[in-house]
């Protein structure tokens, strides 16, 4: 498609959805709802096409016998088996459910546990990475919050749990909220740049 034409379509649809969200104009609301439906549909199709991209990348790795191509082969094999089972049995079948419960959940939970080890390790070695005021503040805050959140202490020493909770909800949440405000402003200007065609991640610029 002609790239300026695609940009014009993207900008027009973005403006319609934006205005339809804020302004109580019936025509805009109807248009927005219809366009949102299209977006949902396209997002589902994109996920499907994305899976084909995943297949393509790993197939190339196998074909070129690149490093780790064995795992790519395992991935493609399990992917096709799961797809075939899902098409044959349906997603609500007990076999599909057991696949999720016996494979996906344990694996992802294991990665989460690995993440816990990684974060502990990173915290221990933080002073090896850098020694400055912010690092000291960060580590002291981390240790204080974790220590006060320890059930043995917070349960036996009244007030420690409340102190930990208030620290998490007041200074920590306040700082995080400030960060979120900045993030929101950045998101706003980024979205506007795309809306006005200054950034065109959909091609052309």
């Amino acid at each position: 498609m002609n790239r300026p034409f695609a940009a014009a379509i993207a900008i027009a649809i973005g403006l319609i959805v934006l205005l339809g969200y804020f302004l109580p104009i019936p025509v805009l609301s109807v248009l927005r709802l219809e366009l949102v439906q299209w977006a949902i549909l396209l997002a589902g199709i994109a996920a499907l096409v994305g899976i084909f991209n995943l297949i393509s990348v790993h197939w190339q790795k196998i074909r070129r016998r690149e490093r780790g191509s064995f795992y790519s082969a395992v991935l493609l094999l399990t992917m096709f088996v799961t797809l075939a089972l899902g098409l044959l049995l349906g997603p609500a079948h007990s076999v599909m459910q057991s696949l999720v419960e016996s494979v996906i959940i344990p694996v992802e939970a294991s990665l989460m546990a690995l993440l816990a080890v990684t974060l502990v390790y990173a915290s221990i070695r933080l002073f090896r990475r850098r020694v400055d005021l912010m690092t000291v503040v960060f580590l002291l805050t981390l240790l204080l919050i974790l220590f006060l959140s320890t059930p043995i202490l917070s349960g036996n020493l009244s007030g420690l749990g409340d102190l930990a909770r208030s620290m998490a909800n007041t200074p920590a949440a306040g700082g995080a909220r400030g960060i979120l405000l900045g993030v929101a402003l950045g998101a706003l200007t980024t979205g506007l740049r795309v809306l006005f065609g200054m950034d065109r991640p959909y091609g052309g610029k």
Partner: protein
């Protein structure tokens, strides 16, 4: 009422952005405060081109249909700059993402960058990859990249959860430079502990402006500053009204 206030804020931001962009085009490029991470990123990207290693950009898994998509768009803007810089490398930069639509946008961005650099024939679609559709499947699909693809610089920019620590860990094990920026405060704290050069707060959205002299990017930073001051004033006014007993 809330919708109208929101619309007013968006309209104000839009007008400011357009005006600032026009002004920026007529004025010399602004001087930003020094952010060491971006300085190191420029050096790492140049070194990756020089020594024939690969640059890896991870755009996270922020879908464009959600508010997380803004961080992904910021990542795409940075990707555009980096890809243009690294288009002449023997090993083109590889981009991973955890959202299908984002994957295609990354491919399109790469192609645009190669075209702008006059090397569109070097573009390969498989350099924009979908690593996984869930948080840890995305992490699991991206972790081997640092080891298998001879990556010397890894840029994480977008929406990430705690799984970002696994990505940075794997990259640093390969002695790769890591720049990480996430829109989630919890993830930022994780990155602070696990990365040498984390970007905190809205620095994620300043990445493109630091990477290139685009007028709109510099203008958007100025608009953010203006809006930030307005928000500060609004918060102070709200607190004062609450203290005064006003509704």
């Amino acid at each position: 009422m809330n919708a109208l206030i929101g619309f007013g804020i968006v309209l104000l931001a839009a007008l400011l952005l357009l005006g600032m962009t026009l002004l920026r085009r007529k004025s010399p490029p602004p001087v930003f405060r020094e952010i060491a991470a971006f300085t190191r990123l420029r050096r790492a990207a140049g070194l990756a081109v020089e020594d024939g290693t690969r640059l890896h950009v991870s755009l996270g898994r922020g879908g464009l249909q959600s508010a997380r998509g803004a961080s992904a768009l910021a990542g795409l803007a940075l990707l555009r700059r980096l890809a243009e810089q690294a288009s002449g490398s023997d090993r083109p930069p590889v981009v991973t993402s955890g959202d299908a639509a984002l994957t295609y946008l990354s491919q399109d961005t790469l192609e645009s960058a190669y075209r702008a650099a006059g090397a569109v024939e070097l573009f390969r679609a498989e350099t924009g990859r979908l690593s996984g559709l869930t948080a840890f499947s995305y992490a699991a699909g991206t972790i081997p990249l640092a080891r298998d693809e001879n990556v010397s610089a890894s840029v994480l920019i977008g929406h990430f959860g705690p799984e970002a620590a696994l990505l940075t860990e794997s990259a640093e094990r390969e002695n790769a430079f890591v720049l990480a920026a996430a829109d989630e405060p919890a993830t930022q704290s994780i990155l602070f502990a696990s990365v040498q050069d984390p970007l905190i707060g809205e620095e994620l959205y300043a990445a493109a402006a630091y990477a290139g002299p685009e007028a709109s990017h510099a203008a958007s930073l100025q608009v953010q500053d203006i809006l930030r001051w307005l928000v500060v004033l609004a918060l102070l006014a709200g607190a004062a009204m609450r203290l005064a007993g006003l509704p």
